[in-house]
C-alpha cells in the first residue's frame, strides 16, 4: 500500500531542510536504506535514506525547495498503484509542495499558480527566479539535464537552468544553449511607472539560521545599550611592544586579540555579565568562553575562544586566526561555534565609530567594538592628541541590570587604559 514519505528530521535541531537533489527518480525501485535525496540542514548536507521498500511513485517537491521537517516529499508504493487519493490528501493538507499537475485545488488560492503566502510548509515554492518561465520537464521527471560545463557556467552567471532550452540529446543543455541564452541576466529597461521585478534568490541554510536566531533574539531579549569611550593609546602601545617581542618568532597580535583578552578579564571581575537566562533560572558560567563574530561569504559565524581569560595573548591570536580562516572555509565543527558565554563583534576595520550589536543567545551580552579615532582630547586643561575607541555593550536586561552592565564597562575601561591591569 502506497504511503506518503515526509522529510525526516536529520539532526536533533533540524527544523527545516533544503532538498538539494533527488537521488532517485519517479519509477525507480527503492530499497530500505537506499539514498533518496540529499538534504541541506542548518548544519550540513545530509543523506535522506529510505525506510521503505517499493517504487518511487511520485516526487512531490522539486530540487532546491526548502521545507519544514515532516512535510510530504514523495510517495512510495507498489508499481502501478493508484495514488490519486494520496495526492488529494497531500494537496488538502495545504501544502503548496504538491505538484502543479495535482487535480486537487489549492485551498487558499484561487489562482492556483500563486502559492498561498501563509503556507506553513513551503517557504520558497516554485520558480525562484521571477522572470523565469515555467520549467519544462521534457520527460526527465522535472530534472534539468545539462553538461558539467553548463552547470558551472550557470553557477558563475547566476542563470536558472530551468529557464534554458536544451538542444542536446534528451534535451541536455549544452554550452551553445547557455551561450545563446539571453535570459534574465540582462537588465531590462525600465518602463515609466512600472517596478522591475526583483532578482529573487533562495536564502541559504546559513542565512535562514541567522534570520531565525537574530529575530528570536531581538523579539525575546529586552536589549539595552551602554556606550563608553576609552583612551586606546596605552593598549595600542602595549600591542606594539608585544609585537616587537614576538617579531623573532614571526608572530603578531592584533588589537582585537588584546580586546578579547581584556573583555574576558573584565568578565572575571564582573561575573554578573557572564551569564544566561534559561527559563526561570539564571546560569552564571564558570568559564569565560568568548564568541568572536567572523564575517564569511553570505553570512557570519561565531567561533569560540575557550577560557580566553586564562590564555596568553599570543595564544588567543593564533586561535583566532585559525578559527577565522576555517570559518571562511566552512570547516568549523559545531562544537567550535557553540556554547560561548559572551560575544565580541568588531567593525572598526570599516571605520564604524560605534554600533549596537544583537545579542547572540543564550549569551546575555555582546560587546561592539568601533574604530580607533585620532582626535584632540582635553587633558589637564590642555588640548592634546588622543587615540580613542568606543565600545557599546548590548545587554539582556533579564540577566544584567544597568548598574551591573555599567560596572562591567568601567572595569573594561580600566583594563583598556591601563593594560597592566590584565596581569592582576
Amino acid at each position: 500500500m502506497a504511503k506518503i514519505i515526509g522529510l525526516p528530521k536529520l539532526s536533533p535541531t533540524m527544523e527545516e531542510g533544503t532538498l538539494v537533489s533527488w537521488a532517485k527518480k519517479e519509477g525507480d525501485t527503492v530499497d530500505v536504506d537506499d539514498l533518496l535525496a540529499e538534504v541541506e540542514t542548518d548544519k550540513a548536507t545530509m543523506e535522506f535514506r529510505s525506510f521503505d521498500r517499493g517504487v518511487l511513485l511520485k516526487i512531490l517537491v522539486p530540487e532546491g525547495v526548502t521545507l519544514e521537517a515532516e512535510v510530504p516529499v514523495a510517495i512510495i508504493g507498489k508499481e502501478g498503484e493508484d495514488i490519486t487519493e494520496l495526492l488529494a490528501q497531500v494537496a488538502s493538507a495545504g501544502s503548496a509542495s504538491a505538484p502543479k499537475s495535482a487535480s486537487a485545488p489549492e485551498p487558499a488560492s484561487a489562482a492556483g499558480s500563486q502559492p498561498a503566502p501563509e503556507s506553513p510548509a513551503v517557504s520558497a515554492p516554485d520558480s525562484p527566479v521571477a522572470p523565469a518561465p515555467e520549467p519544462a520537464p521534457g520527460g526527465n521527471g522535472g530534472r534539468v539535464i545539462s553538461s558539467p560545463l553548463v552547470r558551472r557556467l550557470a553557477r558563475e552567471r547566476s542563470i536558472d537552468l530551468r529557464a534554458v532550452q536544451g538542444s542536446g540529446p534528451h534535451g541536455r543543455i549544452v554550452k551553445r544553449d547557455i551561450e545563446s541564452y539571453a535570459g534574465p541576466v540582462a537588465v531590462p529597461s525600465r518602463v515609466s511607472g512600472e517596478r522591475l521585478p526583483p532578482e529573487v534568490r533562495q536564502a541559504t541554510s546559513m542565512r535562514r539560521t541567522i534570520a531565525r536566531k537574530l529575530t528570536e533574539s531581538k523579539q525575546t531579549i529586552p536589549h539595552y545599550y551602554l556606550t563608553i569611550d576609552c583612551d586606546i593609546g596605552p593598549l595600542s602601545d602595549a600591542r606594539a611592544a608585544i609585537n616587537s617581542e614576538l617579531e623573532a618568532d614571526g608572530k603578531k597580535v592584533s588589537l582585537n586579540d588584546l580586546l578579547i583578552k581584556a573583555a574576558a578579564v573584565a568578565l572575571r571581575r564582573v561575573p554578573g555579565v557572564n551569564a544566561s537566562w534559561v527559563g526561570k533560572e539564571i546560569h552564571y558560567h564558570q568559564v569565560v568562553d568568548i564568541s568572536v563574530a567572523v564575517a564569511v561569504e553570505d553570512g557570519l559565524m561565531t567561533p569560540v575562544i575557550r577560557d580566553a581569560d586564562r590564555k596568553g595573548i599570543a595564544e588567543i591570536a593564533e586561535e583566532v586566526r585559525d578559527l577565522a580562516s576555517r570559518a571562511r572555509d566552512r570547516k568549523l565543527s559545531v562544537e567550535e561555534m557553540t556554547n560561548g558565554t559572551f560575544s565580541i563583534s568588531n567593525l572598526g576595520m570599516y571605520g564604524i565609530e560605534e554600533f549596537a550589536a544583537v545579542i547572540n543567545p543564550p549569551e546575555a551580552a555582546i560587546l561592539a567594538v568601533g574604530t580607533v579615532r585620532e582626535e584632540p582630547v582635553v587633558e589637564g586643561g590642555q588640548v592634546v592628541p588622543g587615540r580613542r575607541l568606543r565600545f557599546t555593550m548590548s545587554c539582556d536586561h533579564r540577566v544584567v541590570d544597568g548598574a551591573v552592565g555599567a560596572q562591567y564597562m568601567a572595569a573594561l575601561k580600566r583594563i583598556i587604559e591601563s593594560p597592566l591591569n590584565m596581569l592582576l
Binding site: S147, P148, R152
Partner: protein, 328 residues
C-alpha cells in the same frame, strides 16, 4: 632538420647509444645477419660485431630472461621482439622479473633493459599477430611504456629508454616503420623525456588524444574537420606510463570536449585510463561525455575489408568529434 623514416630514426638511436656506451647491446631474432626482420637493425652487426648484435633462436622466454640477467649484472640490453605478439611467451620474464626485481631487492638490483619491436596490426597477419599490447603492459607498475608516433619521438624516446635504469616497453609499428618525418640533424642530440605529452596540432573546438598508428588517422580527420570549420587540438601522450595528463587537461579545459583515439581494444587500458582522468580532472569543463574511437572489441579478422573496419577509421573519428560537438 632532415627527414628520416621511423625505422632509420630507431636505428640511429641504437647506433648512437651503442657508440656512446659499450654496455649497450642488441639481441633478438634476425637482428644480425638478416639485418632485422624489418631492417631496423640494418648495418649494426657490421659495425659492432657478433658480441654486441646477437641473433637468437626462436625462444623469447629464453632471450628475454638472458637480457634481464645481463641487465641485473650491469649491461644495458635492447631486446627486440620480432613482434610484440611474441612477447606473450616471455610475459612472465617481463612482468615477474623485469618489473619486480628492483622493488624485491629493495633497490639493490637495477634492470636497465629495453624491450622493443612492432606492435599492433600490420596488414592481414591474422588475429594472433595483430595485438595492440599497450593495455597488457601499461597497467604494470615497474615498467615504463613508450609508444612513439613520429620518427623524431621514436629516436628521442628510444635514446631515453636505453639510458633508463628501469625496464622500458617500447612499442613501434610495422606500418609506422616507413613513415617519414623530421628528425634533428646529425650531431644534434635530442633526448625526449618520459611523461611529456606533446600538442601535435593546435585547435580550439575539440581535443583528440591519440598515439601510435591511429595518430595519423586522427591527424587526417582533424584536417578534414578543419575544412568544415571545426579545429581539433591533437595531443600525443608519447609515453603511456608515465602518462602526462597536464597538456591533455589544459586542452580539454579550453575545448570542453574530448575524443580518445587508439588502436587497442576498448576494454580498459590506457584509453580508458585517459578518459577516467579527463572526467575527473576536467569535470566542470566538459560539455559532452568523453568519447573513444578504438580498435573494435573482436579478434582481428584476416579479411582486409574487415580489418580496415576494425582499426580506427577517419570516418569514426569525425563522427565522434561531431557527436561531442553536438554537430550534425
Amino acid at each position: 632538420m632532415r627527414e628520416l623514416r621511423y625505422r632509420e630514426a630507431l636505428r640511429e638511436a641504437m647506433l648512437e647509444e651503442m657508440e656512446r656506451d659499450e654496455r649497450v647491446f642488441l639481441m633478438g631474432e634476425e637482428v644480425g645477419h638478416y639485418q632485422g626482420a624489418y631492417k631496423v637493425s640494418e648495418g649494426l652487426l657490421d659495425k659492432f660485431g657478433e658480441r654486441r648484435v646477437i641473433d637468437t633462436p626462436i625462444a623469447e622466454a629464453g632471450f628475454a630472461g638472458i637480457g634481464i640477467g645481463a641487465a641485473m649484472v650491469g649491461l644495458r640490453p635492447i631486446i627486440e621482439f620480432m613482434t610484440w605478439n611474441f612477447s606473450f611467451v616471455a610475459f612472465d620474464q617481463i612482468i615477474s622479473n623485469a618489473a619486480k626485481i628492483h622493488q624485491m631487492s629493495a633497490g639493490a638490483i637495477k634492470v636497465p633493459i629495453v624491450f622493443r619491436g612492432p606492435n599492433g596490426a600490420a596488414r592481414q597477419v591474422g588475429s594472433q599477430h595483430s595485438h595492440a599490447v599497450a593495455p597488457f603492459y601499461a597497467g604494470v607498475p615497474g615498467l615504463y611504456v613508450c609508444q612513439p608516433s613520429t620518427p623524431r619521438d621514436a629516436k628521442g624516446l628510444l635514446k631515453t629508454a636505453i639510458r633508463s635504469n628501469n625496464p622500458v616497453i617500447f612499442l613501434e609499428g610495422e606500418t609506422l616503420y616507413g613513415v617519414k618525418g623530421e628528425v634533428p640533424d646529425e650531431g644534434v642530440e635530442e633526448l625526449i623525456p618520459f611523461g611529456a605529452s606533446r600538442v601535435a596540432r593546435a585547435g580550439t573546438d575539440c581535443t583528440i588524444v591519440t598515439w601510435g598508428r591511429p595518430y595519423y588517422v586522427a591527424m587526417e580527420a582533424a584536417e578534414q574537420l578543419a575544412g568544415d570549420g571545426t579545429e581539433c587540438e591533437v595531443v600525443d601522450p608519447r609515453t603511456l606510463r608515465p602518462l602526462d595528463m597536464g597538456p591533455i587537461i589544459e586542452s580539454v579545459r579550453k575545448t570542453n570536449r574530448c575524443v580518445v583515439v587508439h588502436e587497442h581494444w576498448p576494454y580498459g587500458g590506457p584509453g580508458a585510463e585517459i578518459v577516467d582522468r579527463v572526467q575527473r580532472e576536467a569535470f566542470d569543463y566538459l560539455d559532452a561525455p568523453v568519447e573513444r574511437v578504438t580498435g573494435l572489441d573482436v579478434p582481428m579478422p584476416y579479411a582486409l575489408n574487415l580489418e580496415n573496419e576494425v582499426l580506427p577509421t577517419k570516418e569514426r573519428v569525425i563522427d565522434a568529434v561531431k557527436r561531442v560537438s553536438y554537430a550534425k
